[in-house]
């Protein structure tokens, strides 16, 4: 099983800090799982022009291929202008329509305030559903006040990230088993 933590923004540190924490929890709890973090701030991504993802080169080709090969993806994103960051939406646009079929996707959201709590429900989940992801319904929403000097200081948030890591892995493994037993070819 391969799990990718996709940190979906080119600016700021909160999403990356939370992603580090989430992936660390996966590694601690499930040492056999191959994990990797893709932080969009570290890659030079081109805009989608509609081609098959196998035809992109460089960073764009690398990121899309890594995501397509993953069994589970934790998506982290800040809220920009009451919505998801353009950098993250571009990643979705680069992938095929059913890119998340047979993949489990979970979410962690960072924000300046609680006022945008429903952005993930109203804007991110419909995209993931359309792309056929198995969604971990409960996401972790983390506010500015839960961070201090690039650390999460709220133990409740750490507990929630712990549950997110577990839910992501358990759901991925469960669906895989169900799929394997469903057909005898």
């Amino acid at each position: 099983m391969k799990l990718i933590g996709l940190s979906g923004s080119q600016v700021g540190s909160k999403t990356r800090t939370a992603m580090n924490e989430a992936v660390k929890k996966v590694n601690e709890k499930y040492p056999g799982i191959e994990t990797d973090i893709i932080d969009l701030a570290e890659y030079d991504m081109q805009f989608s022009d509609g081609r098959n993802y196998l035809d992109y080169e460089g960073d764009t080709g690398y990121v899309t291929k890594e995501l397509m090969e993953a069994d589970a993806i934790i998506i982290g994103m800040p809220i920009f202008q009451a919505s998801l960051p353009g950098a993250l939406k571009n990643v979705f646009d680069l992938l095929p329509v059913d890119a998340f079929r047979d993949k489990t996707v979970s979410m962690l959201i960072t924000a300046g305030s609680a006022k945008h709590y429903l952005v993930a429900d109203l804007q991110l989940k419909p995209i993931l559903s359309y792309m056929k992801a198995q969604i971990v319904q409960t996401y972790v929403f983390i506010e500015e006040k839960d961070f201090h000097q690039k650390e999460i200081i709220n133990t409740d948030v750490l507990d929630r990230l712990d549950r997110l890591a577990e839910d992501t892995v358990v759901l991925t493994q469960t669906f895989e088993q169900i799929r394997e037993n469903q057909y005898d070819f």
Binding site: R51, N52, M68, Q182, Y183, F185
Partner: protein, 352 residues
């Protein structure tokens, strides 16, 4: 229909197509050499002819895991190795070729085959060839439409006057040699969506519809849209042939067919298209109303007859060899077609 060498009174035409893919056999992980693969395709065509099939075609793809980039050259070898089966492309990527050269090649193949050659012109599903051959992918649509129009004009007129954006003008140009009957059947490759089919309909061009799988009702909408568009464009749909093309695999039982075929399709599509084939959809492919023709010979006969009833199409083209299918299984399938499936299909679709 006669213009396209189709005679519906003889029943539904049955053909075979290959994309010319060159993939490892997923059961063994082994891949034959390109030389072996090309010879396999020539043998495949001769077997199809011996089994009494109507049509055999070879595709053009300029990417890894394919061996028939020069598909017209492979077709000329097939023209020489066969005597009566109709041959063609599936498809020729007209967008990134010069229609004059394409026509010269296919008219020559037609002379070698003594009047058995057709062109199916498409626009490529992967776009690596735009870089390889020096075209801009931003012109994807415009290149296809302009070059397809020119190809048709060359086919219909011996002396061509033409001006366009992507090629030097032609002034009283004679494109030679001419095919045996003066022109070739030229089909438009369609990917299964109504929007794509309507473009073929408006232009009054035969439609070669490739599909992965799905219910016959869904594809009936595409075929209806094609015929409606043809009527709207001032053409008579009764004069325009429709071909459908998709996966085919026969075995003793449905279960055996699914088991044999699935790894080839799934692994092959992962390599060539970047995503596997979901097992759920593959299992549904065996349903009587699904246009993926997998199952026992009897089930496949019933499926093809059902499709013929729903679509009223003139040609069905089977893809058997995708994803490193070994030659012994291909032979076995052609044998089943020739001995059992083809006679039944002809018996029930020919007008007595």
């Amino acid at each position: 229909m006669e213009k396209y060498r189709i005679h519906p009174e003889n029943g539904l035409e049955f053909g075979i197509y290959t994309l010319g893919d060159h993939l490892p056999d997923p059961h063994t992980g082994e891949r034959i050499s390109a030389q072996e693969r090309v010879h396999e395709l020539i043998e495949y065509a001769t077997l199809a002819e011996q089994a009494g099939l109507d049509f055999f075609s070879v595709g053009e793809s300029h990417q890894e895991y394919f061996a028939t980039q020069a598909h017209a050259v492979v077709l000329s070898a097939i023209a020489q190795a066969t005597n009566k089966i109709k041959i063609g492309s599936s498809s020729t990527i007209i967008s990134t070729s010069d229609p004059v050269r394409v026509y010269e090649n296919f008219a020559t193949v037609d002379l070698i085959s003594k009047g058995r050659t057709e062109i199916v012109a498409g626009r490529a599903s992967r776009i690596g060839l735009f870089d390889l051959l020096g075209y801009n992918v931003q012109d994807y649509e415009a290149l296809y439409e302009e070059k397809f129009d020119l190809l048709r004009q060359i086919n219909e007129q011996e002396s061509v006057n033409w001006e366009g954006e992507f090629r030097a003008s032609l002034k009283n140009a004679r494109v030679l040699p001419r095919p045996v009957e003066g022109s070739l059947p030229i089909w438009r490759a369609v990917g299964g969506t109504p929007a794509s089919a309507m473009k073929a309909g408006y232009a009054g061009v035969p439609m070669f519809m490739a599909h992965l799988g799905g219910s016959s009702d869904r594809f009936k909408q595409t075929i209806d849209a094609y015929r409606d568009a043809a009527r709207a464009g001032g053409h008579d749909p009764a004069q325009l042939p429709v071909a459908t093309a998709g996966f085919f695999y026969a075995a003793e039982t449905t279960q055996q067919a699914l088991k044999d075929l699935y790894p080839h399709i799934n692994e092959g599509m992962k390599r060539t298209n970047g995503g596997g084939f979901p097992k759920q959809l593959f299992a549904q492919g065996a349903e009587p109303h699904n246009i993926m023709n997998t199952g026992s010979p009897q089930e496949i006969i019933e499926k093809i007859l059902h499709q013929h009833e729903v679509f009223g199409h003139q040609r069905y083209v089977a893809q058997i060899d995708f994803g490193g299918m070994p030659m012994d299984k291909i032979r076995k399938n052609i044998e089943l077609i020739g001995d059992t499936i083809l006679p039944a299909v002809k018996k029930y679709t020919a007008k007595k």
